[in-house]
């Protein structure tokens, strides 16, 4: 029969958890042994419980033997404190009351552990597997690509209500300890109630809690994580999220994709030049159109200036209204196509292509050149491989458009350089945002 100590612990735990509907409290009894099992059945894997605990319980003959079995089972851990036991119970661990000991038996149910294919960051060739939504599986995927003893894994908890488990990985040989400390301090000061995934940290990185640029990278590819570990970055894995967070992130990382190492050298350089050109085009082009057509048409050679100015004949409002109108329609189209049900998908292409493009031009509401420019801008926006950064560029072009509307060509150039100055000022956990070389730990 259970001793007094075990009895008090049991009463204490049962009082604190308010007996939910899916709580199971069962007594198991054989001739020599008596055990009580307490677990929440919706998060515990009852198959594991049955195979690894109940079957041996009923098959071992003496109580001493079963005690030895319990103590040597890797899934069983000792009772430390009531609060910790309750926390573990809430995560799917079963509490065993046996003789005068209390044990914790790890039978967590891991539902979303299917390894998924990459959806957001696809490459033409190379590995196509992405992370799953289960932390141990993700850790295993990374370890199988990075089998080094220098890989350090630490765990912490973020989120007051959600108590999400977060694992911090880094390679002790390459990562800078100063950066690592900053990251850890940052995680300790994060003030979020429900922490679902790493992307919620975007805002907390900046002191004012309002960020425009992404100072961390979120990825679903284990190969990217492994490559980044080797260059000294710190990785965060979040329980329940199939996206890993890479810190610190500088602009060079935000513009790099795994294609750069899976293709030949000159091809990779060409792709990078393409990306940077697309970045610049997507930011500057609308502003440049307003500046050229309304302030300085003489910028371009005569033939080009005539055709730009000529395509605007018959448009009843100034160029910046036209640009804002078209960009707004393009933004609506982009946002809507994320959420379209599959049945209505083709409608969006028709609407976007025919109505917004062709018909608006024929109705005399926008000029032909404007349509070309807007499609250019929209397409080059998505050439940037990191989703968060391409959103940033979508916002930035409105700043440059504003400056160009107010000040003309000067506005475009100075607006661009003001953004550049702001990027020079930013830093990501100590690394300047526009750095070209990752800081190495100082040689001791």
């Amino acid at each position: 029969m259970p001793t007094n100590k075990v009895q008090t612990i049991k009463e204490g735990i049962l009082n604190k958890i308010h007996k939910p509907e899916d709580l199971v409290f069962k007594e198991n009894q054989t001739k020599e042994k008596y055990m009580e099992v307490l677990y929440i059945k919706s998060i515990s894997d009852e198959a594991i419980l049955h195979d690894n605990l109940l079957k041996p319980f009923f098959e071992t003959s003496s109580s001493e033997e079963f005690l030895n079995f319990l103590q040597s089972n890797p899934k069983v851990s000792e009772f430390e404190s009531e609060q910790k036991a309750i926390d573990e119970l809430m995560r799917g661990v079963a509490i065993l009351f046996y003789q005068d000991d209390v044990f914790l038996f790890d039978c967590k149910m891991d539902r979303n552990n299917a390894v998924m294919d990459t959806t957001v960051e696809t490459t033409i060739q190379g590995p196509q597997a992405g992370f799953s939504e289960s932390l141990p599986v993700n850790l295993g995927l990374i370890r199988s690509r990075y089998p080094n003893t220098t890989l350090a894994v630490e765990s912490t908890e973020v989120g007051k209500l959600s108590k999400t488990k977060v694992m911090i990985l880094h390679d002790t040989k390459f990562a800078d300890p100063v950066t690592l400390n900053r990251v850890k301090k940052f995680l300790d000061t994060v003030d979020i109630e429900m922490f679902q995934t790493g992307e919620q940290l975007f805002d907390s990185i900046r002191k004012s809690n309002r960020a425009l640029f992404p100072l961390m990278l979120v990825t679903e590819r284990p190969d990217r994580v492994a490559v980044n570990l080797a260059s000294g970055k710190v990785i965060l894995l979040v329980q329940g999220s199939s996206y890993a967070v890479i810190l610190p992130t500088v602009m060079k990382d935000l513009m790099s994709s795994m294609e750069d190492i899976y293709q030949a050298y000159w091809i990779a350089k060409f792709l990078q030049i393409l990306r940077y050109t697309a970045f610049n085009v997507s930011m500057i082009l609308p502003g440049l159109y307003v500046a050229v057509s309304s302030y300085n048409p003489e910028l371009f050679r005569v033939q080009l200036a005539m055709s730009i100015a000529g395509s605007r004949t018959g448009i009843p409002y100034p160029s910046f209204v036209e640009v804002v109108l078209m960009l707004f329609m393009m933004e609506l189209l982009t946002e809507a196509s994320i959420r379209l049900p599959k049945a209505i998908g083709p409608t969006a292409t028709t609407v976007g292509g025919l109505i917004l493009g062709q018909a608006a031009a024929e109705a005399g509401l926008v000029s032909n050149i404007m349509i070309v420019i807007v499609s250019f801008v929209a397409i080059s926006n998505f050439v940037v491989p990191i989703n968060a950064f391409s959103f940033t560029i979508r916002v930035l072009k409105y700043f440059i458009l504003l400056f160009s509307t107010l000040f003309g060509l000067v506005g475009v150039v100075i607006g661009f350089f003001m953004l550049l100055a702001y990027m020079v000022k930013l830093d990501s956990f100590g690394e300047p945002f526009l750095t070209l070389i990752q800081s190495k730990p100082s040689k001791e």
């Binding site: 005569v302 000040f407 060509l409 350089f417 003001m418 550049l420 000022k425």
Partner: protein, 357 residues
Amino acid sequence: MNRYFLYLVLLNMIVNVIIFVPKILIDYRYEGAVMGVIIAIPIGVALNYVYCMAINKFPSQGMPEILATSKHRLFKIIHFYSIQLIWFAAGLITLVGFIDILARFVNPEMPKLALLVIYLAAIFLIIQMPTQRVMYFLEIVLFLNIPLIGFIIFQALTNKFLSWDSMLEVGTHIFASPSLKSIAAATYCFSGYANLIIFNRVIKGKLKIWNFITILFLGIFNLFTTFFIPIGFHGSDGAQQYLYPWISTADSLRLTYSPIERVIFLFLMFYMSITLISISVHWHVSFELIKATFKGKFSKKKNWIVIATYTVCSVAAVIYLNTVLLNKITVYWLVFHLGFEILVVAVFFIWARRQTV
């Protein structure tokens, strides 16, 4: 070879076009500008050398830190205040001059104060950054723009309308006695080193002799292009009739197969960013020196007061200085600057000698 030091000097060399140096040199081309240029080159390199040898004794320290140990508080205050004013004036003249150019060539229908607004917004963002970041920004701006200026100079030199005869003609006036104004104007090209007052904080290691040889060659090339290329394009008599000789020279270049046919726009777009960073560098030095004259912590309120003062001065300058008045003021300011610079370098050199002896 410490490249940050070279960036500072290079910046001043490039921006001298805006600050009326070509105009002054061309005004005096028959009255001693050529000899003035030839004299200015050794003066400029010598000033560079003396100052850098003195500041090499205090690695990674700006002037406020170097003079922190000095006990003559009055001397320190006068020294700092005068340097702040001169540097602020340098930035201001560049700003007003460039806004005048923009109002004349790019946005003729826009009030000058509107152009001032956007420049001030960008400048105030930059001068409040830490010194190291201003240096990084300078590097980025120069990287983006140097290929363009190289291309323009190449186009200018290989253009079939460049008349080498006119240049040689002006060169024959080499033995006219040099005028002080042209010496001052040509020496300004080498004055970038004086920004080391604050920027020495980000320069690691000592400055070696290679830097000065590079400055010598760059300076010779720069003065040659600033002075002679407008003369080559417009003729030795015709160069005088333009208010901004180099900009009119850029206007006479044509890139026939490019979408932007008139090189003046490329030139002006390039200069918009160069002027921005040049004013920011000068005003950053001035701002940091103001911060250093206050003993306590520099609170946000004082920050805003200084920024407001800068704004008021620039607005007043833009309203009251028209092109002709600005031209005259710049000439006298350049002469004053030359004298002041020689004084500052000499004082610093003697002081550094006494400190480390």
